[in-house]
């Protein structure tokens, strides 16, 4: 589904990622581990197409299609989703209106207000989000935890093929991590895939991890299965070198 080959990329001419290779297949859950500043968020922003980041060499393909020249909204319409580490506040646009616009954009179909609202309320209830939040402005005045749950709400409403979660579990209390984790588990099935950045293995509890990658200073220095996640959560990154 996602195929990254020899990716060298960075920001303002400075290379941050030095030759990343990564393949994610349908039905898989991948975890990216690594200390702060190792390039994890940069990788996700590049896959989503943030204009600030530039590719120096290498390719990112999604379902066989080269992404390099596609705008972020075109990538979203192909089925790529990013749950942001710090979601933006959009004053004046309600959660419901933005999400309906997004669902219409992604599906290319006009969506009626009432059925949409019903579905939205049902998903909000599963995520234990106050139903009034639908009429609040996007992320404006939301607590850290509310913003993260709002990202998962968008994930479930947009139902993409590839869900990238950038520290969606950080800054959450135990109950909130559980809600987010259940939300991701609900989303995941054999036809889609997850790519997860986490410092906290809690979010992985409701999921089966297929592969873990350790990213250090812009390079993948170790790959493995669940055992790698356990290793890192117990001993940190000191044993990895590059």
């Amino acid at each position: 589904m996602l195929e990254i080959k020899s990716l060298h990329a960075g920001v303002d001419g400075k290379e941050i990622l030095h030759g990343i290779n990564l393949t994610v297949n349908r039905g898989e859950v991948h975890v990216i581990l690594g200390p702060n500043g190792s390039g994890k968020s940069t990788l996700m922003n590049l896959i989503m197409g943030h204009p600030k980041y530039e590719i120096q060499s290498g390719t990112i393909k999604f379902e066989g299609q080269e992404l390099n020249l596609l705008a972020p909204f075109e990538r979203a319409r192909l089925g790529i989703f990013l749950s942001f580490q710090s979601p933006e506040e959009i004053p004046g646009i309600t959660v419901e209106n933005m999400l309906r616009a997004a669902c219409q954009a992604v599906t290319g179909e006009k969506i009626k207000i009432l059925p949409f609202r019903k579905k939205l309320q049902a998903v909000m209830q599963e995520l234990k989000i106050n139903p009034d939040s639908a009429n609040r402005y996007m992320n404006v005045g939301f607590s850290g935890g509310e913003k993260k749950r709002n990202e998962i709400l968008q994930l479930l409403m947009l139902n993409p093929k590839l869900a990238m979660l950038d520290e969606t579990d950080s800054g959450l209390d135990v109950d909130a991590v559980q809600i987010v984790s259940n939300g991701v588990a609900k989303f995941h099935n054999k036809d889609n895939a997850c790519l997860i950045i986490t410092h906290n293995t809690q979010i992985l509890k409701s999921l089966t991890v297929d592969k873990a990658h350790v990213l250090l200073n812009g390079q993948i220095v170790a790959e493995g299965g669940t055992e790698l996640v356990d290793e890192v959560s117990q001993n940190g990154y000191s044993k990895f070198t590059y």
């Binding site: 705008a71 972020p72 990538r75 959009i90 997004a102 968008q154």
Partner: protein
């Protein structure tokens, strides 16, 4: 690599349709005593009004144009035709309005709005009002809503007592100009205790090239009454400069409430130098809702004089300056009495090299203890060639007051655009959503059909090529 949004100059077809100039009379260009006397004669002014015009002309000649604000040097008064009489008499039925003029107002949606949501309508075409109507139910309650010319004939004493008393000709050069050549406009009188629940609307359309429009709006609300007045204005675009120097005077009596809403969408060759002022008595309320979208240059700062104890002002404004526009707008409040309060809330947007300035003056005089004033102005620049300035002035002469000011100037956040795009929304729509969101606190203050018009204007302004 993201595609760049290319934003074109706007398409304003609806507003830009010109009618053939069928005016029956035009004064000669420029401003002379002869022109002023001629206008007065043609309008059958009473003697006091002719005197008033001539005195205003003297004042006009004695003062300079403002030495601050946007450059208005391209305005050459010798080229402006101050009076254009359309080939139409004022009537009370749209069927009697000449077809081309009727079509213009049809396109602007005035007769349709009248049927659905208005209690009275005035329509001015160039220098004269061509249509005026008011619901009989209101007339029976003593409400007067008519054109200024009729008001001078039928309610001469009231007009004489109030006309240009709030905005005296010596106030500034364009107030003096207005005093000399004013024509048209609306007069509203609401007797004590009468509530006009459905809005009244006057629409000012300037069709003639190189002309000026100088309508005068005088609204008097007696004690405990209420009304909502809506003012609309537009003009087709010409290559020569047009001038709008209207004057609005609002007298809000004790405990009365007036809402004055404007969506101004002049064409890009218009110099809009308009003066609006309200005098608010004890426990009265003036609510301004002001949308400035058009014109080449605007200088507009509606002023509220909080004259009686507990008088209040709510000002809500949005200004959108695009290519070639310099819109200098804001508000002014003078607290004269104790326990008066004012709330100023504005949003300005600039794009494609447009310049938008927020300018305000708040004065709290010695007597106005326990005055409250809160100013919140936010500006959004959509690109790096556009300008935005915030110039709030406060002059507080008494200690026991509660004054707050919050100003924000920002650029449209690329991260916010990326966030929306990552959800599948294309770049042009993402920008439009952010702008609509930015003005949402203002849009929700507008009557529905005006909120829709404002949203349409924003979409037209933002329309991209992709």
């Amino acid at each position: 690599m993201s595609k760049k949004t290319y934003i074109e100059d706007i398409e304003r077809t609806l507003y830009d349709i010109k009618n053939v100039d069928k005016s029956v009379y035009k004064s000669q260009a420029g401003l002379t005593e002869e022109v002023v006397r001629d206008i007065s004669k043609r309008k059958n002014d009473p003697d006091w009004m002719l005197d008033f015009r001539l005195k205003s002309l003297e004042v006009y000649e004695s003062i300079n144009i403002p030495n601050w604000g946007p450059d208005i040097s391209r305005l050459n008064m010798d080229e402006i035709v101050t009076y254009v009489r359309p080939d139409a008499k004022m009537v009370g039925s749209w069927d009697e309005v000449p077809q081309d003029i009727r079509d213009t107002f049809d396109r602007l949606g005035i007769p349709a709005a009248e049927k659905q949501s208005l209690a009275g309508v005035g329509a001015q075409y160039d220098s004269e009002v061509v249509y005026h109507s008011v619901q009989k139910r209101l007339t029976e309650q003593g409400v007067i809503y008519t054109d200024m010319e009729t008001a001078i004939k039928e309610h001469e004493d009231i007009v004489r007592e109030h006309f240009m008393k709030l905005v005296p000709p010596k106030d500034h050069k364009f107030a003096a100009l207005h005093g000399a050549v004013w024509s048209g406009g609306s007069f509203v009188y609401v007797p004590a205790g009468v509530n006009v629940k459905i809005p009244l609307q006057s629409y000012f359309r300037l069709n003639a090239a190189g002309a000026g429009q100088f309508e005068h709006t005088l609204i008097i609300l007696e004690e405990g009454s209420s009304a909502h007045f809506i003012e609309g204005c537009s003009a087709p675009k010409y290559n020569v400069t047009n001038l709008h120097a209207g004057c609005v005077e609002l007298f809000v009596g004790e405990g009365a409430r007036l809402r004055y809403s404007t969506i101004e969408n002049w064409s890009r060759n218009m110099m809009n130098l308009n003066t609006k002022r309200a005098l608010v008595e004890k426990n009265g309320l003036i609510e301004w809702v002001s949308g400035s979208f058009g014109s080449a240059v605007s200088m507009l700062y509606p002023c509220s004089i909080l004259h009686g104890e507990g008088a209040r002002c709510e000002f809500t404004g949005v200004t959108f300056a695009s290519k070639g526009q310099n819109l200098d707008t804001g508000a002014s409040v003078i607290h004269v009495a104790p326990h008066t309060s004012a709330n100023i809330n504005t949003r300005t947007i600039s794009k494609s090299g447009g310049a938008a300035t927020y300018r305000s003056a708040v004065k709290v005089t010695k007597n106005a203890h326990h005055a409250k004033c809160s100013v919140n102005c936010e500006s959004l620049m959509l690109d790096s060639e556009s300008r935005s300035d915030t110039l709030p002035v406060m002059d507080i002469e008494v200690g026991d007051v509660d004054i707050g000011h919050e100003a924000k100037i920002g650029r449209i956040s690329e991260d916010a655009i990326f966030y929306l795009m990552s959800r599948g929304i294309d770049e042009a729509e993402a920008r439009a959503m952010i702008v609509r969101g930015f003005v949402e606190p203002i849009a929700k203050e507008l009557p529905l059909e005006y909120a829709v018009e404002m949203n349409n204007l924003i979409n037209i302004e933002l329309e991209g090529a992709n």
